[in-house]
Every structure is written in C-alpha cells, then in structure tokens.
Symmetry: C2
Subunit: 354 residues, 2 copies
C-alpha cells in the first residue's frame, strides 16, 4: 500500500525546510516500510504570480491526495490584486476549498528553547493544543465584505452549527487521545468565545456544550477570549485543549507560539476526516533564504503530525522523539542560540531516530 504525498515547496526558505523534512521522512520510509511517495510541486507566491500555477489549478491537483506537506508561502515583493502579500490567497483557498475545517496548532515548550515567560523553563511545562476553526467565522468574509461610498465597510462573522459541531468533536477526540495538562494531567477542552457580547459566539458556545455531552470523560469549560489571552501568559501549564473561532484562533495561536519561543518551532495540521495539510506556522523568511540556516523544526514536527494522521503512529512518534532528543542533546540552529545549519540539524535528527 503506497501513499502519495503532495509536497508544496513554497517560497523563500520553503524548499530548504521542506527538503529537510523529506530527508527525515525518507529515512523513516526505509526503516518502517511506510511506502510514502513524494510528489513535489514548485508552488508558492512566485509560481502563481508568474502564471505557472493558478490557485484553482493547485486545488484541483490537491484533491487527488490525502496528505499535503506544505512549505511556507508568501513573498513581500509579490502583491495580489487587493494589494496584500502574494501567496496568502493560496493558503486560505487551500484551507477553505478543501474544507480543512480544523487548524490544529500545538503549543509546546521544546528542549533547548527559552520561553519569554519567567515561570516556565522546563521542557513540556507548556504543552497544549490550540484548535482553530478553519472554515468559517470572521474569515468567512475573506475579501467578500462590502464597502460603501468610501464611508463604511462591513464583514460578516458567520458561525454554523455544522462548523462548530465538527471542530468541537475534533477537539474532544484530540483531548481524549492526548496527554492532558502538564499541571494536573486532566483532560479538558476549553471553548473560547465572547458570548457575553455577540450572539454568534453565544451560538458557538451552545453548540459546543451540546457536543460536550457526548464526552463525559473529558472536562468541558468556557473562557472569554480576552481572559484567555491573559491565561495563556499567566497559566499556560493549566491548559490542555482549546477550541475557538477562526480569527480568535489566528491571534491566540500566534500568542501561544510566542510563549514557547516563536514561530520557528510552531507546527500545525489543517484537517478534516478525509485529508490533511501540514505546515509550519512561520513565513517564508526571504531574508535568510538560500543561506542554509533556516530552522527546520516546525516543518519536521508538521511532518510528524502528517504521519500520525496517516495512521503511521510508530513513525510519527519516532520522528517527534528524534527531534526532541536532538534538541535535548544541544543540537540547535542559530535562531535558538545553537550553531547548526538546517542540514546539520536534520542529520542530528536522523541520527536520533534509532
């Protein structure tokens, strides 16, 4: 049973970090007989702006796969029609058109990484998963909003029962399977909204509560988004799984990443039941592209999430453990205070797979 993986190389440091991930995956392919086959696409902001690919063309192609390994995309020099950075439209189109409704973003303090938070220095003292609804919310209006006479602009936040049900269910399943909070080991899902202000959030909360009734073994709780921003700074150890609306998830997941050392180590999965797209949260960092110094950790751990999604559990754990062992032994790239390049770090990861 071979499994073909769509590989989107992206822009800037994309091809480099994607290359590192493929190398690690190839090592596992042999060791675990995974039967993975990598189909590479030179797709990113540049290839779209040069007309080599259309957004629609990429989506059509993507539908043929169950898993997409996606490098960072975007190029500040390339602007799209609305004047925003090129490549972003493709990212959002992939999430929306493929209906990848759950954006799963682990927030985990890795060995060798220093948290800006004074009270958190031990690896895994911060270890939770933020799940961002990825198919609706305020993002439903992505460039669909309206503007009238240069006087007023309106966007809609749309929350559907289907949207909340499925992402809440995903959150409870992830909590059930996962590690529990570092603080008390308890499994809990926190639903984050502003139901004290908006009806759409009150609806979000109500549907979440209905779903929670099916998961008696997992605690369910609520927190307003403003209080959550505080909590992520003051008591991140008490968190386990968090689920929230798309825009809130965008902001809070970046905040979470900042507390564990920044975007260089932040990894993610965009999932539905049928397929998944796995990507680092960081951008394409054109300033360091081609220098061989990009940190591949986020890309490697995204690849580990991909293996897990494809039910290659042993290989997923092997990759994750190898990254963690390498970092524990002091193997770090320059952005984390180490001296290794992208390839040198990947060598260490592969050595640690044994």
């Amino acid at each position: 049973m071979s499994e073909r993986i769509m590989v989107l190389e992206g822009d800037g440091i994309g091809p480099e970090v994607v290359g590192c991930a493929i190398r690690a995956l190839e090592a596992l392919n042999d060791a675990y007989g995974l039967g993975l086959e990598f189909v590479k696409y030179d797709v990113g902001a540049r290839s779209i702006s040069q007309g080599e690919w259309t957004v629609e063309g990429v989506i059509e192609e993507a539908r043929k796969f169950r898993a997409i390994l996606k490098g960072p995309m975007g190029d500040p020099g390339i602007r799209n029609r609305q004047g925003t950075e090129g490549g972003l439209d493709l990212i959002l189109a992939l999430r929306f058109s493929l209906d990848l409704y759950a954006n799963v973003r682990p927030v985990r303090l890795l060995p060798g990484v220093s948290s800006p938070l004074r009270n958190f220095s031990r690896p895994d003292s911060i270890d939770y998963t933020l799940i961002r609804e990825n198919s609706e919310g305020l993002y439903a209006s992505h460039f669909g909003g309206m503007e009238l006479r240069d006087e007023v602009a309106v966007d809609n936040q749309i929350i559907t029962r289907k949207g909340v049900e499925r992402v809440s269910r995903m959150a409870f399943e992830i909590a059930r399977r996962g590690r529990g909070s570092p603080w008390d080991g308890r499994k809990r899902v926190l639903c984050v909204e502003k139901s004290n202000v908006l009806r759409s959030f009150a609806f979000f909360r109500r549907v979440f509560d209905e779903v929670s009734a099916d998961y008696g073994d997992v605690e369910a709780g609520h927190m307003y988004a403003d209080a959550m921003a505080q909590y992520m700074v003051l008591h991140p150890d008490r968190l386990n799984v968090v689920v929230t609306e798309n825009m809130f998830g965008d902001i809070l997941s970046d905040l979470g990443a900042a507390t564990v050392g920044g975007l260089g180590v932040a990894y993610s999965a965009n999932l539905n039941e049928r397929m998944g797209m796995f990507e680092p949260v960081h951008g394409s960092a054109p300033d360091i592209a081609g220098k061989g110094i990009a940190n591949p950790v986020a890309m490697l751990l995204s690849a580990s999430m991909m293996l897990d999604f494809l039910s290659k559990r042993d290989a997923a754990v092997a990759l994750e453990s190898a990254v963690i062992r390498a970092m524990s032994s002091g193997a770090l790239t320059q952005d984390l205070g180490g001296h290794l390049g992208s390839e040198g770090f990947t060598d260490k990861v592969i050595e640690n797979m044994g």
Copy 2:
C-alpha cells in the same frame, strides 16, 4: 468653577475602591483647589436587576456630566435576558450611547509589580498605550446579530470612516503628547488590523494612513493582529501607541495587562471630545468584596486620567506620581505580595502627594 463628577459605585469591590479614589481626590481637591464635587450613584448590576435603575435612566443622568468615575460592575449571580452576566450591558451601553469612542488603556509596568515576562523587570521598561476603538467594529453587533433555525448565526463587523478617523486622530494626539517608547524614545502609532484577510480591515488601514499624513512628527506603522500578539510578549518595550478595532482591542488590552501584572493595576479612560468615563479594567471580584483588601491602584490611576482629561494637569501628575512613589517605597496590597489593605495603601498614596 466647580465641576460635578458622576460617581458610579458599581458592584462587589466597587464601592471600596471608588471610596479610596474619592479620598485621594478630596485630598487633591483641597491642595489644588480643584473645585470637584462628587455625586454618588449606587449603580451596578445589582441596582439594575432590582429595578432601582434602568440602563436608559443611567444614560440620561450621565449626559448631565463631563466626567464619570466608574467602579467595576457585574455580578455572576445576576443574569440578564440573554443569559450573560448582569451589568455588562450597562458598561457597553454607557460606551455606545454616550459615544465614548476611544478606550485608552495604558500598559505600564509599575514599581513593585513583577512582570511574567523574563526580560522585563525594571519599572517602565514596558510603557505604552493601547487605544481600542470603542463605538463600532465587531461590537457594533452587540446582541443585534441574527440566528436562523438554530443552524447559523451571523454578526457584522462595521468599520466607518468617521470611526477610524476620530480614533486615529486621538492616537496621534496621545502619541504627540506622551513619552515615546522606552526603547528608543520615538513617538509612533501602530495601526493593528488584519487587512491581509478582510476588506473592513483594509479600509481601517487606509483611513488610518490618511489621518497619519497630518502628523508628520509621529511615525506611523502597521502590524497584523496576530503578529501584534507576539510582539506584545517579545518586544513590548518597542511599543508606544497602538490603535485597533474594538474586539482586537478587547483581547490585546487584556494581554497587555497580563504582561504588567494583571488587571489589578490596569486602568483606562473611555473618551470623546466632550466627556470621559474612567474605570479600572478589572471586574467586581465579589469573592473579596467587603474584606478591605482590594487593590485600588487601577481605580486611582483611572482617577488620575480623569484629572488629566479635566485639564487639571498638575493634580493628575501629583496623583500618578504619588501612586508610583508609594509603590516604589514598597507600599503594596496583598495581591502584589504586600501586606496593606485598600485603605492603608490609599493612606500611603496621600502621604506621598506632598
């Protein structure tokens, strides 16, 4: 020239911390001949739920004043029609009905307060002002959203030219008058939005840019809200003045408060050209009400902002300096690791006014 001040005592610890502020203000009243006259109202969630006041009645009364000193409001035991906490509707009604369009929230590391951020321990190493648009944005839909067949709920984010113009102007004026960033002393205003995703935010940004043209002496910049959440944790010292949409401001100002010791010390002003309402960002803390241990710092500094708004500059600075001197000398309430009660701390502040 006497100036009548509307005093809303609020719920829980409200009457206690408001009492402390009035005592400090009375001391200044004598020393500086301010001619302030305090008109107290027992208004909060409780008085509204018991029918002593209606929201409309409070607003009508408020229109007679130029300044409102507002205690924290809300009571978890009191629910309003939509099932959310009582008292919140009154807060939002005051902001909206009185058109207090700018919610000015200083984020300042005070002496004696420990920041959860490892790299920031010196007082004033974090010192910026977050200005939250307070009259529109996603909050324009406050319980006005719609829900259809228990299947979908929609709220609108409404951004107007008038709304962005006036709050941006306020931001530039505050930057011009204020201290500049702790990092390089430069005066700058950062406009925070997600113009890479939504047209209403692109509109926000465009109008901000137009206003910035009138302020050549103040730097103008942009940052996406997700990047801002990171920046507030990693480089808060580089910030000076930040302006953003209502909901973003709600979340980011709580995040800012967390980085400087929490809501106990977070103060704010809700302003327009004609009038202002001054309130602590914290809630009514019913669990510690009546014990005399509540921290009055946020309430006292809100009162200082009120004096400033009323053009009583010397008295405003005297109050602010007295709070800071008291805290520097180790006068702290229990929540900050000290041993003073609310009144004992206020005594120290008054002693330090000389």
